[in-house]
Subunit: 271 residues, 2 copies
Amino acid sequence: MNSTDDNALQSAVPATAGGLAVPAAQARAGRMHGAAFSPLYRQIKALLVQSLDRGDWKPGEAIPSEMELATRFQVSQGTVRKAIDELAAEHLLLRRQGKGTFVATHHEARVRYRFLRLAPDQGVPQPAQSQVLSCGRIRSSAEIARALEIRTGEQVVAIRRVLSFAGKATVVDDIWLPGDVFRGLTTELLGSYRGPLYGLFETEFGVSMVRADEKLRAVTAGDEYATLLQIEPGTPLLQVERVSHTYGDRPMEVRRGHYLTEGYHYRNSLN
Amino acid sequence: MNSTDDNALQSAVPATAGGLAVPAAQARAGRMHGAAFSPLYRQIKALLVQSLDRGDWKPGEAIPSEMELATRFQVSQGTVRKAIDELAAEHLLLRRQGKGTFVATHHEARVRYRFLRLAPDQGVPQPAQSQVLSCGRIRSSAEIARALEIRTGEQVVAIRRVLSFAGKATVVDDIWLPGDVFRGLTTELLGSYRGPLYGLFETEFGVSMVRADEKLRAVTAGDEYATLLQIEPGTPLLQVERVSHTYGDRPMEVRRGHYLTEGYHYRNSLN
DNA sequence: AAGTGGTCTAGACCACGTT
DNA sequence: ACGTGGTCTAGACCACTTT
């Protein structure tokens, strides 16, 4: 792979990616002083995220080897490695020595409990049973629209479900998804699916959740939640508001959960 | 880099560190197959943590330059760099280009809000006022002892305080600390101190908190907390149980907080 | 100008898994 | 035996800060 050298990276990019504002050669040359300077490995990283976003490599699949990518982008293996290092640290990729580097997927025990923080006070986490109560299309409220970065009134999918552990109803989730992306999501599809919701999003809609922000509050159960969770009204519940993001940090889900924290807790680690 | 080769790392270690079980040369030579193999940079990392733990470099101070450490440990700069990279990722060290690498300290805005996750629903976080209600020595309960990895009945410092934001009491914290480490901690010392508690622990007791695990639950306020927070009994509160760790992952604090989440929330990020 | 961390390269070798 | 990621090295140069 010996191009005419200038813009080596750019020319190596698949045609669909279009032109880069700042070709890699520029960073290599060492220009740009007070400006937007971004090192080569970050440009490589951005290209890799683009490929993930485009679905060039699917969740669970291996991406090309470091050497392959290095020759493709006309950089050293070390530079590719540093790009992949960051993506692995962010859990977008998963390295397995001797085997390759794989696209992270929610169809794995490891990754599952990154997003389900409710754990039993004693014993090990048990898989939850999900019961979908409703799933329909509505016009988004201003609040949901803002969080999803769509226009107020645009169509969203609204889901309500109950999660149970060992037969005991523990979580009520209300979920909102952008309607145009999740076309064809129905109660039946949800009901027929085994495994985590984010796994379904991956395989059925090509949406990989990568990061989420949560806001937690303590509230008391009103009649509605009390009935759903079979508890007394006034029982304290942990309210969890979540906005989940896919590859380009694009918000793709809003979720409001109400957790019954009796015998369970929300675990967190401060680093 | 031509020493007499064997045990280059070990001989470079300050005398106080004593002998290493596995000298660096072993990793370099490439022995140890199914065994406990640990790469060179992790051994360097462990040595750096030892130095931090011994207080060779105090919070806020610069550690020696990468080149300096590389010659001291008889490894390449890249190996030292990788060790420091991990410590920086874990927030034990802080890199500042052109200036040096510094020991992380809680006397900084950046690091403060890593451990205080309560944020206002609108606006930017305001500094909290702390009012210490009590501070005394008691025998540890079995529960606290287990968390602090001390014997039941051993002396612990017990602190109760209230945090207020803009004059409104919002948090009640109960804190337990191992008595032998926090000798001389009194209500007066706590009262005379400005700034975060973990800053005081650093400067007065040489204890740097590095990581914490939390368990969150929703509870309702009893008469005690209701009085302290000037709210109605039965108001929902966010209960936060925290175990904080210092260098070497040694537990050094148990804390049970009760947060009033009206106008405030506990923010979290799932990566 | 000098010193620090940050990037990039090229090559050697090791550990792990598959063929 | 081969291909993958993982480690380690040595050297060049860049970006940032201070002298």
